[in-house]
Each structure stands twice: as C-alpha cells, then as structure tokens.
Symmetry: C2
Subunit: 237 residues, 2 copies
DNA sequence: AGCGATCAAATTGTATGCAATCTGACGATG
DNA sequence: CATCGTCAGATTGCATACAATTTGATCGCT
C-alpha cells in the first residue's frame, strides 16, 4: 500500500487545506495510538507544532469531535475520546449493520484492479504481522483498519464509506482500551477469507465472513479491564 | 408531538450553546424548505440575525457542512446543499442499509411509552396532511421525517441514530429538489403499517415495511427534472 | 493539621482587524 | 459593438486581542 495515503482526507474536496492537514495528522496519531485516549489537546500547543493560529486548530478539533475521535468539553478543552463500554458496543453494533451490506454491494462491483489492491494489502498486512516491535504493531493495527476501508471504497457509496471511516477509527480506540491479546483476531486469516468470498462473487458468504470477523474482534475485548480510567466518565459525568 | 422539540440537538452534551442554537435554527429552516438548496449563507448576515460574531457563525456552518446540509467552498462561502442525483441515490441506498436493521432492533426494545409516542405522532401527521396551505405542508414534511427519527431513537444506538438524522435531513433536500407529486408517498398509511409490525414484535415484517416505504419515497422522485440548476455542479465542477 | 476562601496562571470563548480572494462593473481598445 | 483589463466592493481566511472560565496554589482561620 502506498505509504503516502495514510491521510485519506475525509471531505471530498479540500476546503481548509491546513485545518484538514492537522486533522489528518491528529487522526493518524490517534488511530496509531501515539495519542492515548483521554489525552488533552491544548490549542496553543498544537498550533505551535503546526505553526498556525488557534483558529485553524479549533477547526481541526471540531472536525475530529464530529467524527467522535475527540471530545470537546466547554471551557475545558479537547481530549482524545475515551469510549465507554456502552459506546464500544454501539460502535460494533453499527459495524454489524453496515459492513455486511457493504460487502454485498462490493461483491457486485469488484474489478480486477480492486482485487490487485486487496492482494497487495494482504501481503503488506502479513509482512507487518511478521515483524516485531511497537512500530510494526502500530502499523499492523492501522493496516488492519485500512483493509475495511478498502472494502468500503469498492462499494461505491461515499456516505457509507464516510460512516465506515468513523466507525473504523473509533474501533481502533476501543481496541486500544479494551483489547486483550491485542493480535489474536488480527492473526486469523479472515481478511483473506473475505476476499475469497468477494472473488467468488458470493455476496451472502462475504457478508457472513464480515460478520464473523467482527464477532471475533469483539470477542477479544474485555470491557471489565479498563486500563487508564477516564476519571470523570467512570462516575457518569 | 411537543412543539418545542423541533431543534433536537445533534450532540449529546451542549458544547457551544450559541453555535448549536444557530445550527439548529438553520437546520430547521433547511429541512422545512424555507431555505432553498443552493442558497448562500453569508456569515455577517447570519451573525447579525443572531447577534453573534462571524466566529460563532462559522462554527455553525461547519457543523452543517459535516452533516451534508451545507457545502462550504473555499473563499466563496457556504451554500445550502444541492444534492446531485448520484448523491440522492447514495442517500437512499444508505437508508436501505440502515433503517431496516434499526426497525428490527426497535422491535426488541419497544416499550408501551414508545407506542404512545408513535401513536401521538401518527395522529399529528394525519392532522397536518388534512390541513391546507404551504405551512401545513412544511410541517407535514418535517413530521414525516421525525417519524423515522422516532424509530431510530427506540433502537437505542446513538451512533446509528446520528447517521439517520443526517440521512433524513438530506432526504428532505432531495425530495425538495426531485420530488414529483410531493405528497403521494406521504399520504400512504405506511407509517401506520410499520408501527403495526413493531407492535406485533415482528422484526422481519417491520424491516420489510420500512424497505417498501423507502422504495415508495424514491419512486416519487424524478432525477431528470431539476428545478433550479446548481449551475456549477451541472458541469461537474 | 484540616478546612475554606481568595487569587493567579493557564486555557478556552468570542469579537474584531487585516490580508487574500472572488465578483461584477466600468472603461479602454480593437 | 465586442472583448479584455483594471479596479472597487464584498466576502471569506486567518491571526490576534480581550473576556470568561477553570484549575491549582497559597494563605489564613479554626
């Protein structure tokens, strides 16, 4: 996979060159877990890093807040989201609603070029899983999510694709918080299974494969074990 | 239905009291078709109406842009969205993916209080359809959308509910642009049929009823007849 | 020491000023 | 008369200044 496409702009047309760039950078940092859930994002600090005023930073933070990756509390600031177990369940329920349908639609539209992209991606995923070290692990997590986004792009529905982008990013946060083994579900060859169903043009099978895959991801979670308590949310504030 | 709940704030917790209020007002104006697709929203103008600075207005417009109700073009300003036929198809495809599943989940969670809310809403819808005049028509359109949101709220998934809110609002724009008879689909007793299936606890039947309902809404559209051309989008810019 | 009030530093919320850009009009030129 | 260039007005993009709010610390009192 092209190493430059990590940004993957959310809006069709660039509207705020700079705000969008900052959003992308923060988005990646959150998804790759370089920014922990609950971390505070101070406007002036971010602004100095990117050499822009707070105005632009605020726009970026608002974007991330809309996507659910950041939570803005009035007069207190912006924090990397810290999904509750309940939110986590809703995220996966939403994925169970949307992704199987996306898979069915993707089956009908899959081109040879798409297949090549999938295969190249699978190869890259395997390579990252074989590597050791935290950076490889981070890259593997990110690549795993991008597989699902690749699937969404094939379905040719920009709205559902955007919904998926949000759900994938938030899933990454959930896994960071509640994931157990961290890699057990990723190690399964389920991504390859899904691709097989697509190539066979079997929509039902592809949808089922996705459902099972989501089941397995969620099975690896333990909502009891909260690594870093969000302090304020624990007491339902 | 409570006449004060038209705003229906998008974000769980109030974050920008004022920006949110302006967003709600503009949202209602767009959904009720007091603001035509393509209309320009000048920052200073809106700001004077609500007696706030452009800063706050910009935040509101950004919110609406994220929901797809407003399109912001760099250095040109914010315009009420003007969905293309292709976008319209994607909106309804997305609804076909999400709403039947919402109906199934709602079936499992429906309480007596919910049923009463539905019935009160149906009564109000019937009343508005019987009335004449553009204001009654507007209110009927809005109420029709709110029925679907009521359904979404029963499903107890805030994420899917938010997705639905966006899709319903954008559907309203699509119907404004491409709707033919304007009321044929609304006149059908399909909302009541859906409620019957819910009460019968028949998830499959409810899902089918929703699917048929969406089919009928879309059948009433004619993508050929574009009332007010968006000029710039016609030529794929 | 424990407790509470007051204050200062840090941070966000909002308004406003200036620069950049777009738009439409006017006028010069062929 | 048509066409193009220039310019003024309007509008947005961005930075910055000031107000409001939160937060943590210090000091005094019991």
């Amino acid at each position: 996979m092209n190493p430059a496409d990590g940004a993957m702009p959310v809006r069709d047309e660039a509207q705020d060159d700079r705000a969008q760039a900052i959003r992308d950078a923060l988005h990646d940092a959150i998804v790759e877990r370089r920014l922990a859930p609950g971390a505070k994002l101070v406007e002036t600090e971010v602004g100095e890093l990117f050499e822009v005023s707070r105005t632009v930073v605020r726009a970026s933070l608002q974007m991330l807040a809309f996507e659910g990756l950041v939570k803005i509390e009035r007069n207190r600031g912006a924090f990397v989201a810290h999904p509750t177990p309940d939110e986590a369940r809703q995220i996966f329920e939403s994925r169970r609603v949307i992704e199987p349908e996306i898979a069915e639609r993707a089956t009908e539209r899959l081109t040879d070029a798409d297949i090549e992209r999938f295969q190249a991606h699978l190869k890259e995923e395997a390579r990252l899983l074989a590597e050791r070290g935290p950076n490889a692990r981070r890259a593997a997590i990110k690549a795993s999510g991008e597989y699902h986004l690749l699937l969404a792009s094939v379905a040719a529905n920009q709205i559902l694709e955007r919904f998926m982008r949000e759900l994938i990013a938030r899933s990454s946060l959930v896994i960071a918080l509640y994931g157990q083994s961290g890699a057990s579900s990723c190690a399964r060859p389920e991504h390859a299974d899904i691709l097989d169903a697509l190539i066979a043009r079997d929509g039902k099978k592809a949808a089922d494969a996705i459902r099972h895959h989501i089941d397995h991801i969620e099975e690896d979670l333990d909502y009891k074990v909260v690594a870093s308590a969000p302090l304020r949310h624990v007491l339902r504030l």
